[in-house]
Symmetry: C2
Subunit: 427 residues, 2 copies
């Protein structure tokens, strides 16, 4: 089984847009046992799309394209593919009706060129299955390509629109069920990913690899992926014995890496925390200076965050630190806004003033300006408060501004996670 993903769009190659489809589709396909083997991006000009699809069809059982189905002149995927496969295009009345429906639901005036837009996008190649677009105008297409491969079965080409909010629901509702029917052998791919934080990539490998040697020789594959401040360990295996191999390996990894593992199978650190707080019926307040709301933003991405996060304070200025958190004037003048003492008073102030069980407080120098000899750019103090008191850690996160915010935010969440795990154990 070979799966190839072709993302089209010059904006991807020029770096104007992030290729988020690669991640999103890759993850969904891996979940159903159809991991992507190759991903290609081509521009939406000339014959690049047709060339890429032609080449992919020579090796892949499943080819998926994204983008180029819109109403503008650089949207060429539908036409290029119809020409490549020598399929006539016909207006599909059902698709036309669906496009009208979507436009009506928006409660906005129809664009003056609505008819042209609709008629262009309602063109369907002969024999294609239409994948309904419930959030935009261009439908997706699934085309059986007669060229047989070594499995004795034709190849499947799935053509998807570019906008994520059209692609995502379409993929889940229509493409996934189609793939499961079409490739009944899926599911023989086993995969488990551990997310670890606070330990380096080679230390992770040294800790686990010697204990997995014989599983590797039986077909287990181990992948390491160093992300900013974190390392993922991915265990995969193919075939009917794969599940058992991954299960056995995961038992060992869990024992060897212990508390460094914050989640398995994709839960984010913030999801883990919101769920722990909910389980323990505890509440949280955040007090952020240099991270500027990043921590509360992460936490509020999790559905149900409103049950545990009472609120957050972004206290950039000293005045805000005093007024909203009760940090003392003497503390600010004796130790400065970026100090252990200030972090401590911020955390304690946030917790008691706003009647929360836990508080996170962060104060530091994100840069590029503002550093000094004693406190260079990247210096940060993170406080976590609960009923037992405040812990403060000092870190030196000398990165660009966005990475600084990211790493600092993750460190604060990890400090809180450790506290919550202790609380959970003591319960």
């Amino acid at each position: 089984m070979f799966v190839e993903l072709i993302t089209t769009g010059s904006e991807l190659l020029l770096g104007a847009t992030l290729n988020s489809h690669q991640q999103w589709i890759g993850r969904r396909l891996a979940e159903i046992g159809l991991p992507v083997n190759r991903q290609l991006t081509v521009p939406d000009t000339g014959t690049a799309i047709a060339d890429a699809v032609r080449e992919a069809l020579t090796r892949a059982d499943l080819v998926i394209t994204t983008g180029g189905l819109g109403p503008t002149s650089d949207d060429r995927t539908r036409d290029e593919i119809a020409r490549l496969l020598n399929l006539s295009l016909t207006e599909d009345p059902e698709v036309l009706k669906q496009i009208e429906l979507v436009f009506k639901r928006r409660n906005r005036p129809f664009p003056p060129n609505f008819e042209t837009i609709a008629r262009t996008q309602a063109q369907v190649p002969a024999g294609a299955i239409v994948l309904k677009n419930e959030h935009g105008s261009a439908p997706g297409l699934a085309i059986d390509v007669a060229t047989e491969n070594k499995t004795g079965r034709g190849r499947l080409l799935i053509v998807l629109p570019g906008p994520p909010r059209e692609l995502h629901p379409m993929f889940l509702a229509y493409a996934i069920p189609l793939l499961k029917t079409r490739f009944p052998e899926v599911g023989t791919f086993s995969c488990l990913t551990f997310h670890t934080i606070g330990v380096g990539e080679s230390r992770v490998e040294d800790a686990i690899r010697p204990h997995l040697v014989e599983l590797e020789s039986n077909g287990l594959e181990i992948g390491y992926c160093a992300r900013v401040g974190e390392v993922d360990v991915r265990l995969t295996a193919l075939g009917p014995k794969g599940e058992e191999l991954v299960r056995e390996a995961s038992l060992r990894v869990r024992r060897l890496l212990g508390k460094f593992i914050y989640s398995e199978s994709g839960q984010s650190l913030e999801e883990v925390i919101v769920h722990l707080l909910a389980e323990l019926k505890q509440t949280l307040v955040t007090a952020e200076s240099c991270t500027g709301g990043f921590v509360s933003h992460c936490l509020t991405n999790v559905p149900g965050a409103s049950d545990v996060l009472l609120g957050g304070l972004v206290t950039y200025s000293n005045e805000f630190k005093r007024e909203l958190l009760g940090v003392r004037d003497e503390t600010l003048s004796a130790h400065g806004a970026v100090s252990e003492q200030t972090a401590r008073e911020m955390a304690e102030g946030a917790r008691t003033r706003y009647r929360a069980d836990y508080a996170i407080a962060i104060t530091g120098i994100a840069g590029p300006g503002g550093g000094s000899v004693e406190k260079p750019v990247g210096t940060v103090f993170i406080g976590v408060a609960d009923a037992n008191g405040v812990d403060v850690q000092r870190h030196q996160n000398a990165f660009d501004r966005e990475t600084f915010k990211f790493i600092t935010g993750r460190q604060s969440l990890e400090m809180l996670r450790r506290r919550l795990i202790t609380a959970q154990r003591e319960k």
Copy 2:
């Protein structure tokens, strides 16, 4: 000139990691006139890397790979490429010294297997130029591949490490200057991107395309990219006349799209706002309920935000809305927390209580829970306050939670931008 980017890593194909290199490198190369023509992701297993590089070298003048230079067993790029090109690997004493230096600077104990890590990563293929890694252990490599192409010049292969904080500074300090020397014809690619907000993709095309017809027939290319709630218009042209073509087209686009354009050449909406506030010497406070700190997070990504953003309040609970913003009990009970009146009092309260010139206030239902018939999931009220009063807009942003936060946040920033532009004009 053909440029191919090969990103390696099974984690990219499985969707465990976002392919941020594609965007970052794509943008840097476009800026120096070397737009990427093709991007490929291959797994870090087997001979996939060598196969991809071999194939790329048959068509590209410049091939760039990322990833697979680390110390773990799935890091195979260096070995695979040396084998493919038949180059011997030798330990480079300078590289070894640099690796030690980087480890020393970290102020942490050396890992027990340091010598193995260092010696593996100090292997350099014969004839390769070393690109110094100032933030990690594996150096980059630039290799002249003898195979000549139609320009009568060899092909260049650049091999880069995977971690962004190693790759980024290395690319800027060592790869870019090398590319400029090696490809002196660069710079004949002209490109300008307009970022627009508040108008759909086909309306944008209808507004500008009829006015650019003759420029298109002279070689101008127009690209449209619909992002969430926004549309980018990209004007590109090759060759010595390209600059003039893009300049002329940009004059027309600027006139035709006017206030819908929030920036040119890549400035983000939040950068535009921070710079406008700084120019006008005005301050801002944010009061966010359902966006949970996303708006203050965006703004604080911009260096210098601390000069204009006094702080932010994430007032998830009604108690926070009352205590921190002075929203009245009667307002909350008569109209609810998600209402025009509450948004108005939040904005006005934030502005006056915290003595800012401007305030943004957001209250809504992000979902998935919490909706009702009158106020379904996605309902949101955005208030922007200044000395002249408060404007409130109601929007219906019925998306998944993260998209809801994103779109709502952008709408609030756009409301503020319009106000700031008016203030700038009146000054």
